[in-house]
C-alpha cells in the first residue's frame, strides 16, 4: 500500500480498483497485449533469419533478387522500385485507417465508411503486389527449399534465403489478409449501424490497432529483407 498512498492522488484513483487503470475497456487492453505477443512471434522469425544469416558465410544480394517490375521489358532491372510501391501502399492504408478511427471518435459514420473502404483497397492492393512478387519469384525457380540465386560473392547459396523470405513474408501476408477480413467485417458492421447503436466506435479502434501493427511489421520485414 505504501506505493499507492505516497503516489499522487490521481495515480491512486487510477489504480484503486473499480475502474480500468488505463482508461481503456478490456478489449483494447487485450488487443494491445495480443499485439505484444504477436510481436514476439514476428520477432522470433526475424531474429531466426538474422541468426542463420550470421551463421552462414555468404548471402544473396537482395538487389539482384528483387529487381523485377510488372510489365517491365525483359532485361530491365529495377531493384527496390516495386517494393517501395508496396511499402507506400501500406503506409497510405495505415493513414486512412487512422482517419477512420478518428472519424469514429467523432461519431462520423460516413467518414468511417469512406476511410475503411480506402483501407481495404490498400490492403487488397498490397496483397496483389505480394502475389505478383511471389509468382514472379516462383517462376524464377525460387520456392521453399529451392534457391536459384547465388551469394553476393558468386558462391553457391543455401536455400535459407528463400526459405525465410517465403515464410516470413507469407506469415506477414497472412496477417494482412486477416486484417483485410477484419476490416471488411468492421465496414459491414458500420454500414449496419451497429456502432451507432452502441454509441461508440471502439471496435474500429481495435481493428485499427491490428492494422497498424501489420504496417509496423512490414517496416521491419521491408528493411531487413530488401535493404540490409
Amino acid at each position: 500500500m505504501s506505493t499507492t498512498t505516497t503516489a499522487s492522488p490521481n495515480e491512486a484513483k487510477l489504480w484503486g480498483g473499480g475502474k480500468s487503470p488505463f482508461n481503456s475497456e478490456y478489449g483494447k487492453v487485450m488487443m494491445w497485449y495480443f499485439l505484444m505477443s504477436d510481436a514476439f512471434t514476428f520477432g522470433a522469425f526475424l531474429i531466426s533469419y538474422g541468426t542463420v544469416r550470421f551463421s552462414t558465410n555468404g548471402w544473396p544480394n537482395s538487389n539482384e533478387v528483387f529487381r523485377s517490375f510488372p510489365f517491365a521489358p525483359e532485361g530491365v532491372h529495377a531493384p527496390l522500385v516495386f517494393v517501395s510501391i508496396m511499402t507506400f501502399i501500406l503506409i497510405i492504408s495505415s493513414v486512412t485507417m487512422v482517419l477512420a478511427v478518428h472519424a469514429g471518435k467523432n461519431m462520423d459514420k460516413s467518414g468511417v465508411v469512406r476511410n475503411m473502404i480506402w483501407t481495404i483497397i490498400g490492403g487488397l492492393a498490397f496483397l496483389s503486389c505480394q502475389a505478383w512478387e511471389w509468382n514472379h519469384l516462383h517462376s524464377e525457380g525460387a520456392w521453399w527449399g529451392m534457391n536459384p540465386f547465388l551469394n553476393a560473392d558468386g558462391t553457391a547459396s543455401s536455400t535459407n534465403f528463400t526459405n525465410f523470405f517465403f515464410t516470413i513474408t507469407g506469415f506477414h501476408g497472412f496477417h494482412v489478409f486477416s486484417g483485410v477480413v477484419i476490416n471488411i467485417i468492421m465496414l459491414i458492421m458500420t454500414l449496419l449501424n451497429k456502432f451507432e447503436q452502441r454509441g461508440h466506435y471502439l471496435m474500429i479502434e481495435k481493428a485499427g490497432l491490428y492494422w497498424h501493427f501489420v504496417d509496423l511489421v512490414w517496416v521491419f520485414v521491408f528493411t531487413i529483407f530488401y535493404l540490409l
Binding site: 500500500m1 506505493t3 499507492t4 520477432g43 552462414t56 515464410t167 461508440h200
Partner: protein, 601 residues
C-alpha cells in the same frame, strides 16, 4: 467522449448483467460449454488430472524397465501390444514413454492444469469480479486445450508410435520423418497439439492479464492484491510473451518436416537413406527458440505454486505474509530474469563459451529473488500459530522441495560444472524436485485449500495426511539418490544400464527408486479417490469462511452461482494479510479500517 461513455456503460453492465441473473442453464451450458470461470477452472483441473494419471502411469512403466531391465511382465504385452513384445518394453516404446511423460506433465498438467485451474478459479473471486473480462474467450481457451489433449492422446495410438525424441523436440529427430519411428505421424500430431496448446494458453493469458488489470473491485489496488493474483499475473505475462516464440519455432519445424526447407538442418546423414542435401541450417537455432519459451515455461509452472503457497502459509500461520513488497519484487525479478537465461540449457550444444559465461551470470542472479522468497516463507512461519491442514503441509513441502531442488540449480547454472553434469541423472533429480514435484505440491496445496470453495465440501483430512507424508517421503526417496547416480556419470534417457560395468552398482538403487515410484503413484490414486468421493459425499461446508481467511472469495456464498456475489461486490479496504492485528485473529479485506486501528502496512 464516446470512449468514456463506453467505459461507463461497460462497468454498469458488469453489475446488472450478472448480479441478478436468472439461470436457465441446460446441462450443456452449465457443465460443458460453460462460460462461468469456476466451471472452466474445474474443467481444467479434471482434464489436468486425467493427464497427470496418464503421465504418471507412463513414468511407472519406464521406471519398471529401469528397475527390472531383465524381467519380463506378460501383462505389459497385453496393454502395450507390440511395444512390449515378450513382456519387455522396447527401446522405441521407452523413448516414446519418456517423451510423452515430459510433454504431458510440463504442458498439460503443470501449465494448463495448474495455472489454468487456479487462474480461472481465483482471479475473479479474489479480485472481486463477476467473471473474467471475456468469459467467451475463456471458454475457447479451455476447448483449445481440450482439442490439444485429444490430438496428443491420439498420437499415442498411431501405428509408428508417438513422438520419441524427448519433450524438447530437438531437430533433426523432430525434423526428419526417417530419423526414428516416432518422428513420423506421431511428431505431426505432437506439433499440432502443441500449436493448439499455444493458442489456448494465449487466450487464457490475455484474459487473465486484462481481468487483473481492469476488473478489480473498488478499493482493490494493485498492492492490496493477494500474492496468488500477483503470481498468476506474472505467469500470464510470461506465457503471453514466450509461447509465441515456441510457435515460430514450431512453424519453421513444420516447414523443415514437410516443405523441404533447411532451417534447422545441415550436413545430415541418415542410415539407410544417405546424406541429405539440406544445408545451411542450424540445429542450435531451434534450441534457442525452444528454450526462449522453455525457460520461462519453468516459471510459468512454478510461479502459481509460489503464489498459492504464500497465501496458504499466511492463512495457516495466522500471520501476515513476511515482506509483501519483497515477495512482489522478487516475483517481478524472476519474471524478468526468466527471459534472460534460456541458454543455460545449452551449455554443451556448441554455444559460444563466452556467451555461455554471460548466461551463467544471469542464471545465478535468479538465486537472489528465489532466496528472498524462501526466507520470507520461513519468516512467515516463524512464531506463527500454525495449523497443519493438509493444504498447509503441502505448502511447507513445497518450500522444502524448492530449497532442495533450487540449490542444485546453482550447481547446474555454472557452465563449468554443467559440462560434467549435463544430461545426467543429476539434472533429472534437479528439475523433478524443483519444478515437477514442487509445483505438484503447490497444486495439491491449492486443491486442498480451495476445495471447500470449489465444491462446498471438504476433502477427507486423514487421507490428506497419508497422501502428504507418503508423497513427500517418496519424492525424496526417488529423487535424492538420483543426484548420486548423476554425479557418478549415469546419463539420462538411457533404456538399460545393466550392460555397463560402471552402472551395474546402481541396479539395486534403480530397483529401489522404481518401487518407491510405484508406491507414490498408488498414493496419488488414493488422492483421486478422496477427490471424487468428496465432491459428492465429503463433509459439507457449513460456514462461509472455513479457514478464517481474509481474501474475498470467502465472502461469496458457500456455493457461489454465476456472477459470484448475489448482491453488490464487496468493497476492499485493506490488504489481504491482516492476521493477528490489534488483537483480532483476522480482519477480512472488506472490513472498513477502524478509527483506532494501528496503521501497519
Amino acid at each position: 467522449m464516446s470512449h468514456e461513455a463506453a467505459l461507463h456503460n461497460h462497468e454498469g453492465q458488469g453489475h446488472d448483467d450478472h448480479g441478478h441473473h436468472e439461470h436457465h442453464d441446460t446441462f450443456l451450458t452449465k457443465y460443458v460449454f460453460s462460460q462461468d470461470h469456476k466451471m472452466i477452472a474445474k474443467q481444467f483441473l479434471i482434464t489436468g488430472m486425467v493427464w497427470a494419471v496418464l503421465g504418471g502411469l507412463m513414468s511407472v512403466l519406464f521406471r519398471l524397465q529401469l528397475g527390472y531391465p531383465d524381467a519380463s511382465f506378460p501383462w505389459l504385452e497385453s496393454i502395450l501390444g507390440k511395444w512390449a513384445k515378450g513382456g519387455q518394453i522396447t527401446p522405441e516404446a521407452y523413448y516414446a514413454l519418456v517423451t510423452t511423460h515430459g510433454t504431458v506433465l510440463v504442458f498439460f498438467v503443470l501449465t494448463a492444469g495448474l495455472s489454468g485451474t487456479f487462474a480461472n478459479f481465483l482471479i475473479p473471486l479474489q479480485i472481486g469480479a463477476r467473471d473474467m473480462a471475456s468469459p467467451f474467450l475463456n471458454m475457447l481457451s479451455y476447448w483449445f486445450f481440450f482439442t490439444a489433449s485429444i490430438v496428443m492422446l491420439s498420437s499415442l495410438f498411431v501405428e509408428t508410435g508417438p513422438f520419441s525424441g524427448g519433450w524438447t523436440a530437438y531437430p533433426p529427430l523432430s525434423a526428419l520423418h526417417d530419423a526414428s519411428p516416432g518422428s513420423k505421424s506421431g511428431m505431426d500430431l505432437w506439433i499440432i497439439a502443441m500449436a493448439l496448446f499455444v493458442v489456448s494458453s494465449l487466450l487464457g493469458g490475455l484474459n487473465y492479464i486484462a481481468t487483473i488489470l481492469n476488473m478489480r473491485t473498488k478499493g482493490m489496488s494493485m498492492t492490496r492484491l493477494p500474492l496468488t493474483i500477483w503470481a498468476l499475473f506474472f505467469t500470464a505475462v510470461l506465457g503471453v510473451l514466450s509461447f509465441p516464440v515456441l510457435l515460430s519455432g514450431m512453424i519453421l519445424l513444420i516447414f523443415d518436416r514437410n516443405f523441404g526447407t533447411s532451417f534447422y538442418l545441415s550436413d545430415i546423414y541418415v542410415n539407410g537413406v544417405g546424406a541429405l542435401s539440406n544445408e545451411g541450417g542450424s540445429a542450435i537455432l531451434f534450441q534457442h527458440l525452444f528454450w526462449f519459451l522453455g525457460h520461462p515455461e519453468v516459471y510459468i509452472i512454478l510461479l502459481p505454486a509460489m503464489g498459492m503457497v504464500s497465501e496458504i502459509m499466511s492463512v495457516n500461520s495466522r500471520k501476515p505474509i513476511f515482506g509483501y513488497m519483497a515477495m512482489l519484487g522478487s516475483l517481478f525479478a524472476i519474471a524478468i530474469l526468466a527471459f534472460l537465461v534460456w541458454a543455460h540449457h545449452m551449455f554443451v550444444t556448441g554455444l559460444n563459451p563466452f556467451l555461455g559465461s554471460v548466461f551463467v551470470l544471469l542464471t545465478l542472479l535468479i538465486a537472489v529473488p528465489s532466496a528472498i522468497k524462501v526466507f520470507n516463507w520461513l519468516t512467515t512461519l516463524w512464531r506463527g500459530n500454525i495449523r497443519f491442514t493438509p493444504g498447509m503441509l503441502f505448502a511447507i513441502g513445497f518450500v522444502s522441495l524448492f530449497i532442495s531442488g533450487g540449490l542444485t540449480g546453482i550447481w547446474l547454472g555454472n557452465a563449468a560444472l554443467d559440462i560434467y553434469l549435463h544430461d545426467s541423472y543429476f539434472v533429472v533429480a534437479h528439475f523433478h524436485i524443483v519444478m515437477g514435484v514442487a509445483s505438484m505440491f503447490g497444486m495439491f496445496a491449492g486443491v486442498y485449500h480451495w476445495f471447500p470453495k470449489m465444491y462446498g465440501r471438504y476433502l477427507n483430512n486423514s487421507l490428506g495426511y497419508i497422501h502428504f507424508w507418503i508423497t513427500i517421503a517418496g519424492a525424496y526417496m526417488i529423487f535424492w539418490p538420483m543426484h548420486y547416480q548423476g554425479l557418478a556419470g549415469m546419463p539420462r534417457r538411457y533404456f538399460d544400464f545393466s550392460i555397463w560395468e560402471s552402472f551395474k552398482q546402481f541396479a539395486e538403487l534403480n530397483r529401489f527408486i522404481s518401487t518407491v515410484a510405484m508406491i507414490v503413484f498408488a498414493v496419488q490414486i488414493l488422492f483421486l479417490i478422496n477427490f471424487f468421493y468428496s465432491i459428492f459425499k465429503g463433509r459439507k461446508v457449513t460456514v462461509l469462511n472455513p479457514w478464517e481467511s481474509n481474501t474475498l472469495e470467502w465472502t461469496t456464498p458457500i456455493r457461489p452461482g454465476h456472477g459470484n456475489w448475489p448482491g453488490e461486490i464487496p468493497e476492499v479496504h485493506r490488504w489481504p494479510y491482516d492476521y493477528g492485528k490489534d488483537g483480532h485473529d483476522f480482519i477480512p479485506q472488506d472490513v472498513p479500517v477502524g478509527a483506532d486501528e494501528t496503521d501497519t502496512h
